[in-house]
Symmetry: C2
Subunit: 227 residues, 2 copies
């Protein structure tokens, strides 16, 4: 199982963004859309053993998180506009529920999660709640090893070495959008994360990092390296 | 210098596609847009020593090729819609020139290339002409080593081993969109390409392959491995 948490520091939480301008009106929600796509999509098919959580911290109603669960996920297309639409749809449905809490139509779409509270299933495999970064880290730390990807982390060879002994386990990789983690976020990460790693000499986009991680793990799996 | 050639087998050549539906109306031009973006864009900056050529073979006026030259390139944003707009703009300008050949406005935007003929500069760093795959391969084979990326190529360790001795040279990587190369295209590739390589056990999108190639070369460069 490979999980990815991506923090969108300016990603808008409500009212929703325009699909014609994901970077501007969405607060760089295009970064999150691309990260979701590359986490799941192969050239001809989908990776099922993947979960992606985007943490939205932008205006006007933060925090929100949207979780994409590979085993259930439908309607994911390779273009970022349609993935942006899945996130937008989640924000709209969540807000509709919040402002009309008595509507029975939402009852069967609500899933109780011990840590994340009430999650609303906005479409197959897409869940939204108002939990923040701390709760998301806590949730994934309970059943996986957390790995933070940052520029100043240790280098790729250490990564391969460390993953060699862990690639079969549940792994959760924590990434930021185009902004660095804040000091508060770093404190939270240090509380939950075992490893802090860098993927190379260049500062890469979060979707590029996800592709590299998948490739490293794919190659470790094919080589069938035993722990 | 790192060059990438990506063949868009259905990518429309004229009339232009809708920016609201790059995959459908563009003939999977979204794949090309993402490939262009990842080839050039770092998290905070641009790779200058890169050229990307998209070969468009879809309806209704094939072939076309659009070349993106890193040292001159402007107006490249990280979202795929705006990169789609750069390509669309090139197609529109090329067609306007073709249907109004006497207009003097195009004279100073035309660049003569010995192999590719008249290239029209549609915006800074973006050149379009009606040369096809064969001419593009011939052009890049004259000043670089061609490497074809296909599923059945030899594996990653060979790639690293072979690039170790070539990473400082001009390299040109040849990729396809979501369709396999045709038999005719394979014949052309075999004529010009020295290497045929695969990047891992999974079938990846072309933009994912470009990210992996960049990372391998970045790490080789930082390690400063001598031939």
């Amino acid at each position: 199982m490979r999980n990815f948490i991506i923090v969108g520091h300016r990603a808008v939480t409500y009212p929703p963004f325009s699909l014609n301008d994901l970077p501007g009106t969405g607060g760089r929600v295009d970064i999150l859309a691309r990260s979701i796509n590359v986490a799941f999509l192969l050239s001809h098919g989908m990776r099922e053993g993947v979960e992606v959580t985007t943490v939205l911290l932008g205006p006007e109603d933060p925090p929100k998180n949207i979780r994409f669960i590979g085993t259930e996920l439908k309607y994911l297309n390779p273009d970022e506009r349609s993935t942006g639409a899945l996130s937008r749809n989640a924000l709209i449905k969540y807000n509709t529920m919040k402002t009309n809490p008595e509507k029975k139509q939402f009852e069967r779409s609500l899933v109780q999660n011990d840590i994340l509270g009430n999650e609303l299933r906005s479409s197959p495999g897409v869940y939204i709640s108002n939990s923040g970064f701390a709760e998301i880290l806590r949730y994934y730390s309970e059943h996986s090893i957390l790995v933070c990807l940052i520029e100043k982390g240790s280098d790729l060879s250490n990564l391969t070495e460390q993953l060699k002994n862990n690639y079969k386990q549940n792994l959760t990789f924590i990434l930021s959008d185009d902004k660095d983690f804040t000091a508060e976020e770093e404190d939270l990460i240090n509380k939950y994360s075992k490893f802090s790693l860098s993927l190379g000499p260049q500062t890469l986009h979060s979707d590029h990092c996800i592709i590299l991680i998948h490739n490293i793990l794919d190659n470790l799996e094919i080589k069938n390296i035993k722990p």
